[in-house]
Symmetry: C2
Subunit: 262 residues, 2 copies
């Protein structure tokens, strides 16, 4: 739709937003009948800002309570606000727990889920005897001592192209469960946060949280790194560990083609 | 006061608690006529837990909104709960934004403010063009680019025994404003958090926040590191920079004599 304004035809363009959020207060990314979501807030504030009915398309439809440093939302607009300035104008309207990190124009056929990308997620576990209040919303507190060397060994068994059906929630109807993980690691920071970092070209529903839950079982010796190939081969959700809690998970960023976002 | 229980006299002992908290929801440490404080919550929950009227003595009376990883509270009790277990029992009752990190018995004359100690504080500044939502409560967002090498140079000028009157809020009546700073540094993390860390044997009211506000002015070139000796020499609050916001400040820990807490 091309709109006439002051005699000039406004050009319709597609904008890519990189969006960071604290997921604590939201029912996840995707529009929901009950409960406020990130997508809903972005649609509302972009529509008010631009005076158009804006509906964003998200790259990662994160669950309730999951955080983000670099999720991606795409939308079409006829605005004359320069694409790179849009994020600043939008941030004036957004609540403090959602902040656009950047905005730029992309090709009209760019689709954040259909274009080739590598997504990176981080799962953070506070692994000490006693919780730390300032980390409670962004790490999962787990007091039993984790053997991170074993977790790292198990993580490396997940790298590659595999059928991840065992690492997919049963609450989904996806048929093709083959995905490629490019990178998967576990490391301990000096502050006793165990960080599981996973990069892949696609993820199934709850996949990173099930990976985290399974690696925790490896970390306490309930499973061994050698179990990972067996879990993958079983191709059933019950073969893997539990789904780790949402608030430990952060979507770090998405790299499309040449560019690298975060 | 010695209490008889089952024929045995309970021994009165002094307990030292190390306390971490997210200061966001509190009006600081110290009891206040209006607004809930850390001290108030500790008194209430310890009194309930131990069945005695407990009044803690705090080491650092942090301001409203300031966080802690290792503040110290001391109290006397006749409880038979082993001193080292007390923190676990207390944590069952405390809200999730206050967590006792450890508990131990100390000498009956130990006083957390009068005994010799070295306190360490950290002031965190998120220094990039756009805020990050998950850091908003624990860092002060400052978008102008900070020259951290200059801030480090200025920080080193604060080390030593000086009259810090210029770095003391006028809302206090303290007479002796000479204090010793053992260590003061500024560094930038890979995530663009500029961390100012200060260790000293004593601090004046708002001293770390005024140091942070002054170092920020150095970081943007409004002042030079060479100004620090001149600011100290002036001995008036107006000579130093503004008081940086409370939510960027965390009390890291206190070391008494031989031991090191955090």
């Amino acid at each position: 739709m091309v709109k006439e304004e002051g005699g000039y035809a406004s050009v319709r363009k597609r904008i890519k937003l990189v969006v960071a959020y604290d997921g604590t207060a939201y029912c996840g990314w995707q529009l929901q009948p009950s409960g406020i979501t990130i997508e809903e807030v972005l649609n509302r504030e972009l529509s008010h800002l631009l005076g158009e009915d804006i509906r964003v398309i998200g790259a990662s439809r994160t669950d309730s309570g999951v955080h983000s440093l670099g999720n991606v939302a795409v939308f079409d607009t006829s605005t004359r606000i320069p694409p790179e300035k849009l994020c600043y104008a939008l941030n004036q309207r957004l609540p403090e727990d959602i902040v656009a990190q950047s905005s730029c124009e992309v090709a009209g056929d760019f689709h954040p889920r259909r274009c080739y990308s590598e997504k990176t997620y981080e799962y953070r576990i506070l692994n000490r005897k006693i919780p730390i209040p300032t980390l409670r919303k962004y790490t999962y507190f787990y007091y039993r001592d984790l053997d991170v060397a074993k977790m790292q060994e198990a993580a490396s068994c997940l790298v590659g192209k595999h059928d991840f059906k065992s690492f997919c929630s049963v609450r989904t109807a996806v048929e093709d469960t083959v995905r490629t993980i490019r990178f998967c690691s576990a490391e301990r920071t000096p502050e006793d946060v165990v960080i599981i970092r996973v990069t892949g070209t696609g993820f199934l529903y709850n996949m990173v949280r099930i990976i985290a839950g399974t690696l925790i079982q490896v970390g306490i010796g309930e499973r061994s790194p050698e179990d990972i190939p067996r879990i993958l081969a079983r191709r059933e959700r019950g073969a893997a560990g539990p789904t780790a809690p949402a608030h430990g998970l952060t979507m770090l960023g998405i790299a499309y083609g040449d560019e690298t976002d975060r």
